[in-house]
Amino acid sequence: MRKAILAIVCLAVSMMLSIAEAQTLRFSPLPMQDRETVVKQFKPMTTYLEKSLNVKIVYDYSDSYAGILEKFKQSFVDLAYLGPLPYVELRASATHAEPLVRFKEKSGQTTYTCSLVTFPDAFFDANFAKGRKIALTQPLSTCGYLSVSGLMRDLGSSLEDNLYRYIGKHDTVALSVLEGQFDAGGLKSAIAKEYAHLGLETIAETPPLPAFALVGNTRTLPPEVTEEIRRQMIALEPDGKDKKILSYWGENIRYGAVLASDDDYKPVRDLLGETTIPEKGNH
């Protein structure tokens, strides 16, 4: 009996110590949708990483892409879920930002596309659009100014000839177009498709871009931790043993992941070229 009590005490102490010693990682997801949705999407993933790495992950939620990037630069964030353009922008001034894994799309591809959408009642003709209201996500969003300006240019018009505004998240763009506040909007194609049953139409779609990535801060994360994150993430088998677990995960991250490197983002850098993305909308 005495031994049993001693064993329980030792176990409790060791558990307490392990908890006390557990590292805390600060995670910032990209605010592509409303906060609830974002948290719901990533909570299972962070729980999975907490157990796998024996760490505690806390959310550092920001409503703006720029906020996340700034925190990352100042090392207030250890881990972030970023799109390709935010990553490229971040990497340009923060070499300690290292892409760990890229999330696969539902199609199994490691790329995604951005779309320019509208609602039929808006009567938006991209070929001749001028002075129309266009909703953009955020300046640093890949599907924002960068994609929309490119798509409209391809369609023979110019984003700058219209009235664009950054309104935040992708689903906000979709809803604002549905609601009629904007005539068109740019957002991730996968999200746009979810609103298609409400009459949201895709006008144009970009070529494939490198998928969203989990970016680690090498200044605050030891190499063994980043490597372990990589290992744990790519070990997931969405169609195999981890199918059930991943079913709880968000739509954007539940289809597995592949190793990422900075070279994967060359297409984005090429697309960006000399383009200067305005930080504010023009109306």
Partner: protein, 1232 residues
């Protein structure tokens, strides 16, 4: 109190039981009352919660019904909805989008009212459009959502709690129909937070939590929603939605207190049981000392199933108050009953005590030996005890009701005193205490003496009577009277015993001490308490024969008295003797009850007896053993009464043959009638006599007679000592004394001779020195002059040089011998004085520089900077040793050079030693010679080869070094490589630097090269050719150009052309004398510039010379005889830059006439005169100088005379003057 109750009270157990029963009953009542009130309160609380819950739900229902009526049931909306649910493809999507666009703003407004969901369903129960989740649609809800199923099948509104795929909440579902066609339904979902907020507005003091039945939630929610749910701590069958309030529209998380309560209630079986039955209840719970009311309200879903619980937590004081009240009431009741019980028990105890006391008093009263009666205030006896009746001889009835005074106290014994006059009665009747002796009348008429004690009896401060106790003391009084008489007798005996000078001990028949008197305590040291109870054998010393004690006890046991001496031991261990008389003490029946011992300390008496015996023994022993014959003679009869063995032996007859004879038969037969004592009246006679032995032979004796008294008779005590040996020894001593006198006379004669020889030796040494030195001076002087005689051939010059060198050597040898004589005689004295050591080194350099240059040797003088400039040391000896060592080094070095290095070994002044190393690169010394190097007259082979030196230099130097406390050693030496000598001596630095040293004087063997090149021109005027030659040579040797003339006239002639810088002018000249010549020279051109040194003869007063010299214009003077060096020295002093017309003191022994000098010397202190003479005899001229300084203070003229003689080497005159003769001993010169 009834008999029954008393019996009850008598039984304490019964009382306790009854009280316990009452307490239990009361406690039960209070508990029931408490619980009843609490249940009522809980029910009220539960009811309020139910009402609040219902009100909240209804509030939302009314609002949603308004929305349904005003928005949903409008035709535009219904048409759009119908188009959507019935259309397909883009048309359907467009309609759906338009409907979304139509209601989106309203939905946003509803969200702010905690309405989370706005959800449209198709008629088949599938999801059509979720405003709260637009991307989710098309899923079938018919099976999982009862409300949807009812609305679309029964087509009626449904509202209530329901779980959902996304979130659980309160649903309000309404069917939608248009134009008679059922199109589907619309659902508005209110979050639990909405209901909670609504309830909180009604009752803000509660904390709310919604628990969902796990069974109805988990199977239906979307998989990605599962993380939002966690198990309830209250009951694991229930889960909580977003317990940590991650989502913004979730109710706030439970407080820590609520969580703690949940954990407690998890263990509460009543709660768990009620929840398993789906019942509501309210319970109280405590968390962190605070009381909370927890209400569980079951929530049924639209299907009537237990979907969950609404749990509220409210801080509560009422329950706590009820509980407190219960315990307070219970405590009060228990306390009150305890007090009652205690009182009852106390009453019972006191009652029992009263009964016991009453009974005891009666028993006491009846058994009391004292007679007791109680009177009322009038003196009537109202109570009497049996003893009173027995003492007084009455029956109780005869006394009760009678007046006590009349019955008992009025009798002839007190003259029938009236009651009113009776002090006993009057005092008692006034309520006062009365104690005393009274006489009571016995029934028989006898008068009893009784001792009474009467005390008043008060009741409520009112005198109600008195109680009188008495007892008969008639017999006691009688006994006391007899006892007093007996005590008086005993007291007297006791005093006698206590003050007895003898120790008295009383024991019982067992021998145990029962009494000892103070004398015993004083004698033995045992206190009364220590002795009593002990056996007298505690005094036994162990030295007594056991039979004494046995005999004592036999005697005592026989009832007889025992007397005897006992040797006992005190408490402190001291032994003492006592005479004891022990007698039995008998009782009236004759039986022995005690023993009394009367003991007297006889220790002193015994000691005196012992002392007397000792004394007698000593006397007898003395008589017998004394090595002197003792004879006791009766003064009257002159007959011998006693002799000791020695006397018998002297008499040559046994004592028996001697005793009884007339004393003159053996002694002083011729003085029979002229006995010095008896006949001539002397007190003592001590004289040598002749004893006539029995065989008529005679022996010499010393007889001493004393008159003594023995037992009143006059006796003569004669002591006879055989002096035959003494007489013999006296003869021998006399002869020895005569021999001793002759020896002493001889010794004195020899001592006189030795003294004379010693003096002769001293004079011889002085004379030898003088006599040898005087001709040597001539030999050296003339040989020196002869060396310069150009008329001599080379061989002759060499011979003269040999003569001169041999003379020098001889002079040195003599000086050395004299120095060694002083050393061996222990007369070497160290004169420590201030000296400039650096200057000495410079002198050494100056002395030997030229000699080294001549031999092409280098001379290095290295002086460490730590060597102080001025030191205290014997300057002369240091200088002499260094010159000796360096001189030897120069002498024995052919190439290379000499190094003289000076160093100090310590910085502490008290132990500083100056060490000088003299190192040369000369021939070195063989090892075999090194051992004898410092022995006198030992010379090295090289020294012998060079034929130089006396072999005394190093031994003298070492002796001087050791005399200074230092040493001189040969450090190292190798043949052909040179030698290193180390000379060390202790010194003290002279901080004041008061060095007074004369100018450097070049000696004959210590040249002064610097001053040779002076280039001065000197004119010597001397008529004596030898003196002239000496002067010329000496001055020329000093490097000066010298011209000699024989007269004053020649001098005047020569002065002009020669233009000398200095003129050495003799006084006694043929023609004009020196003074005149000087005066004339001064008158000549440049005559004033030249210095004039006048040489005078002896025998002239110094002052006279000075006056004459000054009068003639001379600068200074020197007296004959003089050393040649003195002249040179004078010249330097006169012409040198630092000497301006100074005068060099010259010895002048002629200042004082011989007779005057002798007289003055005789006036010197004997000590000083002896010291001066000894210094001259030993050649210690340094001491002589010091002593001369003392003479200066006495008589400067005499001092000058003595110094003059010394400086002229006229030691014979000096010694003659000082009663001795000697010559000055010069310092030895260096020699190896």
């Amino acid at each position: 109190m009834t008999r029954w109750s008393r019996r009850i009270l008598d039984k304490t157990v019964a009382i306790v039981l009854i009280l316990t029963l009452i307490t239990t009953g009361l406690g039960t009542f209070l508990y029931s009352n408490w619980k009843l009130k609490q249940r009522s309160y809980f029910a009220q609380h539960q009811e309020i919660l139910q009402t609040s819950y219902n009100a909240s739900i209804q509030m939302y229902r009314l609002a949603i019904e308004a929305f349904y009526a005003n928005t949903i049931r409008q035709p535009d909306f219904l048409a759009l909805f119908a188009e959507g649910v019935t259309g397909t493809g883009k048309e359907r999507n467009l309609a759906k989008g338009r409907l979304f666009r139509l209601l989106l703003s309203q939905y946003r407004a509803m969200k702010k009212q905690s309405i989370l969901q706005l959800h449209f369903h198709k008629a088949d129960g599938s999801s059509y459009l979720r405003f709260h989740k637009p991307v989710k649609h098309g899923d079938d809800l018919m099976d999982v959502r009862h409300s949807v199923r009812i609305a679309n099948t029964e087509k009626r509104p449904v509202h209530g709690f329901e779980t959902g795929r996304v979130r659980s909440g309160f649903r309000y579902v309404y069917p939608i129909a248009w134009k008679g066609v059922h199109l589907g339904s619309v659902e508005v979902g209110v979050t639990t937070k909405g209901i909670r907020d609504a309830m909180a507005e009604l009752d803000p003091n509660r904390e709310y939590a919604f628990l969902l039945n796990r069974h109805f939630v988990e199977p239906y929610i979307f998989s990605e929603q599962k993380w939002l749910y966690s198990t309830s701590m209250l009951n694991p069958g229930y889960i909580m939605e977003d317990a940590d309030a991650i989502l913004p529209d979730s109710p706030p998380p439970l407080s820590d207190e609520a969580k703690a309560i949940d954990r407690d209630l998890f263990l509460d079986q009543d709660v768990q049981s009620a929840m398993s039955r789906g019942q509501g209840m309210t319970v109280s719970s405590y968390s962190e000392g605070r009381c909370f009311l927890v209400s569980l309200l079951p929530i049924r879903d639209v299907a009537g199933q237990l979907a969950g619980y609404l749990v509220t937590y409210a801080p509560d004081q009422v329950t706590k108050t009820y509980r407190k009240e219960f315990f307070v009431y219970l405590a009060v009741a228990v306390s009150a009953l305890s007090v009652i019980g205690m009182l009852m028990l106390g009453l019972r105890k006191r009652s029992d005590a009263l009964i016991r006391e009453q009974r005891d008093i009666k028993v006491i009263n009846d058994t009391l030996a004292e007679g007791v009666y109680v009177m009322d205030p009038e003196g009537t006896i109202v109570r009497v005890n049996p003893s009173a009746c027995r003492i007084l001889g009455y029956e109780p009835d005869e006394l009760l009701g009678q007046t006590a005074h009349d019955k008992l106290h009025s009798h002839e014994g007190n003259a029938f005193i009236q009651k009113s006059d009776c002090p006993f009665f009057t005092q008692v009747s006034r309520g006062q205490v009365y104690d005393g002796e009274e006489r009571f009348l016995h029934k028989s008429g006898a008068i009893l003496i009784v001792e009474v004690a009467s005390r008043p009896i008060y009741m409520h401060n009112e005198l109600v009577g008195s109680v009188t106790a008495f007892h008969d003391i008639t017999e006691r009084k009688r006994t006391e009277k007899a006892l007093r008489k007996s005590e008086e007798t005993a007291r007297k005996l006791s005093i006698a015993v206590e003050q007895s000078p003898a120790s008295i001990v009383i024991t019982n028949t067992e021998g145990t001490i029962e009494y000892v008197n103070p004398k015993f305590v004083e004698s033995t040291g045992y206190t009364f308490s220590e002795a009593v109870g002990k056996n007298p054998n505690l005094l036994q010393s162990g030295t007594m024969d056991r039979r004494v004690y046995e005999e004592m006890w036999e005697t005592l046991s026989a009832g007889q008295e025992w007397k005897g001496e006992l040797h006992n031991r005190c408490k402190n261990g001291a032994l003492y003797w006592e005479f004891a008389s022990i007698s039995p003490i008998r009782n009236e029946k004759g039986g022995v009850t005690h023993y009394v011992a009367v003991k007297e300390d006889v220790t002193e008496r015994k000691r005196m007896e012992e002392a007397l015996r000792e004394k007698e023994l000593i006397q007898r022993t003395l008589m017998q053993r004394l090595p002197v014959g003792l004879v006791v003679i009766d003064a009257q009869s002159k007959r011998i009464e006693s002799v000791n063995p020695i006397a018998s032996e002297l008499f040559g007859a046994p004592e028996s043959s001697v005793v009884g004879n007339l004393c003159h038969q053996f002694m002083c037969p011729a003085e029979e009638n002229r006995c010095p004592i008896l006949d001539l009246g002397q007190v003592v006679d001590s004289s040598d006599r002749v004893l006539i032995r029995n065989n008529k032979t005679q022996i010499p004796v010393l007889k001493t007679v004393n008159r003594i008294m023995i037992q009143g008779r006059e006796k003569l005590l004669e002591c006879i000592v055989d002096i035959r040996s003494r007489v013999k020894a006296e003869k021998a001593l006399k002869q020895a004394n005569e021999k001793l006198k002759a020896a002493i006379s001889r010794a004195e004669e020899l001592a006189e001779k030795a003294e004379s020889a010693n003096r002769a030796k001293s004079i011889f040494l002085a004379n030898m020195s003088h006599e040898i030195r005087t001709p040597l001076n001539a030999v050296l002087g003339h040989s020196q002059l002869l060396q310069h005689d150009e008329a001599l051939g080379a061989e002759q010059r060499q011979q003269v040089a040999t003569i001169n060198r041999s003379g020098d050597h001889l002079l040195e040898l003599i000086n050395g011998i004299l120095a060694m004589s002083k050393i061996e005689a222990g007369h070497v004295k160290i004169h420590r004085e201030s000296m400039d050591f650096h200057k000495l080194i410079e002198d050494i350099d100056a002395i030997f520089r030229l000699a080294c240059q001549k031999k092409n040797l280098w001379l290095k003088l290295e002086t460490d900077r730590r060597v102080p400039k001025n030191i205290l040391a014997d300057r002369g000896k240091v200088r002499q040793i260094l010159i000796n060592l360096v001189s030897n080094a120069v002498k024995f070095t052919r190439k290379g050079g000499i190094t003289l290095a000076c160093d100090v070994n310590s910085v502490e002044d008290s132990s500083r030693t100056l060490t000088i190393h003299i190192k040369d690169t000369g021939s070195g010394i063989d090892k075999t010679e090194q051992e004898k190097l410092f022995e006198a007259f030992e010379q090295t082979s090289s020294g012998q080869v060079s034929s130089e030196g006396t072999g005394l230099g190093l031994s003298i130097s070492r002796a001087y070094a050791k005399a200074m406390g230092g040493d001189l050693i040969l450090v190292d030496s190798k043949i052909g490589a040179g030698s290193v000598f180390q000379f060390s001596f202790p010194f003290q630095s002279d901080e004041h630097g008061s060095v007074v040293e004369g100018p450097f004087v070049c000696s004959s063997d210590a040249r002064c090269p610097e001053k040779k090149s002076s280039g001065m021109k000197v004119l010597v005027v001397e008529d004596d050719p030898i003196s002239r030659m000496l002067l010329k040579n000496s001055i020329s040797e000093a490097g000066m150009e010298t011209v000699t003339v024989e007269s004053g006239e020649e001098a005047l002639e020569t002065f002009g052309p020669f233009a000398p810088d200095l003129v050495v002018l003799d006084i006694l000249l043929p023609g004009i004398d020196g003074y005149e010549t000087c005066r004339l020279l001064r008158r000549m051109p440049n005559g004033e510039k030249a210095k004039v040194l006048i040489v005078t003869a002896t025998g002239i007063n110094k002052e006279e010379i000075r006056e004459k010299v000054a009068a003639s214009g001379g600068d200074t003077f020197v007296t004959k005889p003089f050393k040649p060096d003195i002249i040179v020295e004078k010249i330097y002093a006169l012409c040198g830059p630092s000497v301006q017309n100074s005068e060099i003191e010259q010895p002048h022994s002629w200042e004082m006439e011989a007779d005057a000098a002798v007289e003055t010397v005789l006036r010197l202190p004997e000590r000083l005169r002896r010291s001066l003479r000894a210094a001259v005899e030993m050649g210690d001229m340094q001491s002589f100088e010091v002593l001369s300084a003392e003479v200066v203070s006495i008589n400067s003229g005499l001092a000058g005379k003595l110094k003059g003689l010394a400086h002229q080497y006229d030691y014979a005159s000096l010694l003659a003057l000082l009663s001795a003769r000697e010559e000055k001993i010069e310092e030895p010169r260096g020699e190896r």
